[in-house]
Symmetry: C2
Subunit: 298 residues, 2 copies
């Protein structure tokens, strides 16, 4: 952010509120979205802070997002619920979902709320922090539009699928973990291109799925873990999709789910189950030392 | 595993049962441990499969692990419980904890069980799979002895702290994600040393905390994400510690927790909270375009 202007927090918050209100958002949506974006900016998560206001103004004005949603809660179990966000701004439903999840957790020991028919909620951290402030160890996550390719694939498969967890700490700010399950967000690739700098190894691939360090050729991101260990980031991204989309019925990236069953891409666990099938036929390889210790070989 | 011997699954299972029984383990511990280890071997997770039997035999015989534990369940909330494993083999308490967590989840929508006074449970995957077989999306995790260093630190901080999740899939094996939050397990470093091959970048550090690709100089592991993105793996490892040790009171690696408060190592979230404190004083940097769109600058 060259030439950034420093703006006092409350002034900035007031401007964000004004912009969202002017775009037609109701008071609760305005309050939730400005709370989330300004906190992200306070915390230094600039890619998901007030920078996004023009985006939300656009989608509010275009009608793509409902400025006056009527949310609906469906209780599912003693400790679980589904929240229909009525296509409103994702920040309001995320805060509402976290508040309900914390109520359920405080009453039952653990609670979970799935949200569907929602929209982009910016950073995941603010909702986890809200949960920690309510006294809970809180996890917030969302699946997202696909931009992350699997190793050697020419098609993006997962979104950046972030996971944030916050935990209360006595007399201190909450413990906070926030990560995208890709190595870096795409807007950092763009920043590298602008600076004319090569990318680190293993963060991006070109349109054919070949890893590249040339930011101008980067067409998709690679999962956390890079070339050697990207299956781990991909597994975490898949976990987010299972929890946030498969489990709730929310699937913005609706091509993603059937792809789990295609033959050209290994889903998490496929390799292990294949190995098991082979080993149940061929036998299980055991090193001589273990075999000896088990009395199988001498 | 050069020169491995292929052994039929049932023969191998019988040998493991016999070895554990001979070491004094009671019937339930024997059944659980052999079930877990043989499944890991079937799935190709050899580092955490039957190879470990001699280890368990040793700790059973030495008295470090209780061969005839009396587990105790403490109900905490409608949907939660704590399980005191009475220092038995970790496999038996992990299966028992997962079974109880699934009962709680099937009754309440979600359930969680924390286990303390337990011991090494080998791979996490078998317990997640057991949960999926009971009809749940199941997560199994454990903190572990510290062997993973943080970037630039000369001391190991986290264990390999694995996370496994399994989810039922209709007419197919469960979806399965299993990962250590380090890039690789230490026994793979040893395998590289044996082969005289250099390590990939960013998986290990020497005794001074400097990253090394020389397997003979490797004194600790680096977190998933390597040199550039290791803060993400470290964050995940920290999450495991919060859930498995801080929350349950189980802390084998008891030096780990006070280290969260030291000043020389940034805990997850510290950087963000520092940024926030600064920004609340200096103002929040906003790029000119966003500032214009908010009516702050012209």
């Amino acid at each position: 952010m060259a030439e950034a202007i420093l703006i006092p927090r409350n002034v900035l918050h007031g401007c964000v509120v004004k912009a969202l209100r002017a775009a037609g958002a109701d008071e609760e949506s305005t309050a939730a979205t400005s709370r989330s974006l300004v906190l992200a900016s306070e915390l230094g998560i600039d890619s998901h802070g007030v920078r996004l206001v023009p985006h939300y103004v656009r989608v509010l004005k275009s009608g793509r997002v409902n400025p006056r949603p009527k949310r609906r809660i469906e209780r599912r179990g003693t400790a679980t619920a589904l929240l229909d966000a009525d296509n409103g701004l994702g920040h309001a439903s995320a805060y509402a979902g976290m508040e309900l999840a914390c109520e359920l957790a405080l009453a039952n020991g653990v609670g979970a709320v799935g949200i569907f028919r929602s929209s982009h909620f910016a950073a995941a951290g603010p909702y986890a922090i809200a949960g920690a402030e309510a006294g809970c160890i809180a996890l917030a996550s969302t699946n997202a539009d696909k931009i992350v390719g699997l190793h050697g694939s020419a098609r993006a498969f997962h979104g950046t699928n972030p996971i944030a967890v916050a935990a209360p700490v006595a007399d201190a700010n909450p413990w906070l973990m926030e990560l995208a399950t890709s190595s870096m967000p795409f807007n950092r690739i763009v920043a590298y291109a602008r600076m004319g700098k090569p990318l680190p190894e293993g963060v991006a691939a070109d349109a054919e799925g070949n890893p590249t360090t040339d930011p101008d050729r980067a067409a998709m991101l690679l999962p956390l873990g890079g070339l050697e260990f990207g299956h781990k980031g991909a597994g975490l991204a898949g976990l987010v999709t299972v929890l946030c989309a498969v489990l709730t019925g929310a699937s913005q990236d609706d091509e993603l789910i059937p792809m789990f069953r295609t033959r050209d891409l290994l889903a998490p666990g496929d390799r292990e189950w294949q190995t098991r099938a082979e080993r149940l036929t061929t036998g299980i390889p055991v090193d001589p030392e273990t075999a000896r210790s088990l009395g199988i070989a001498s």
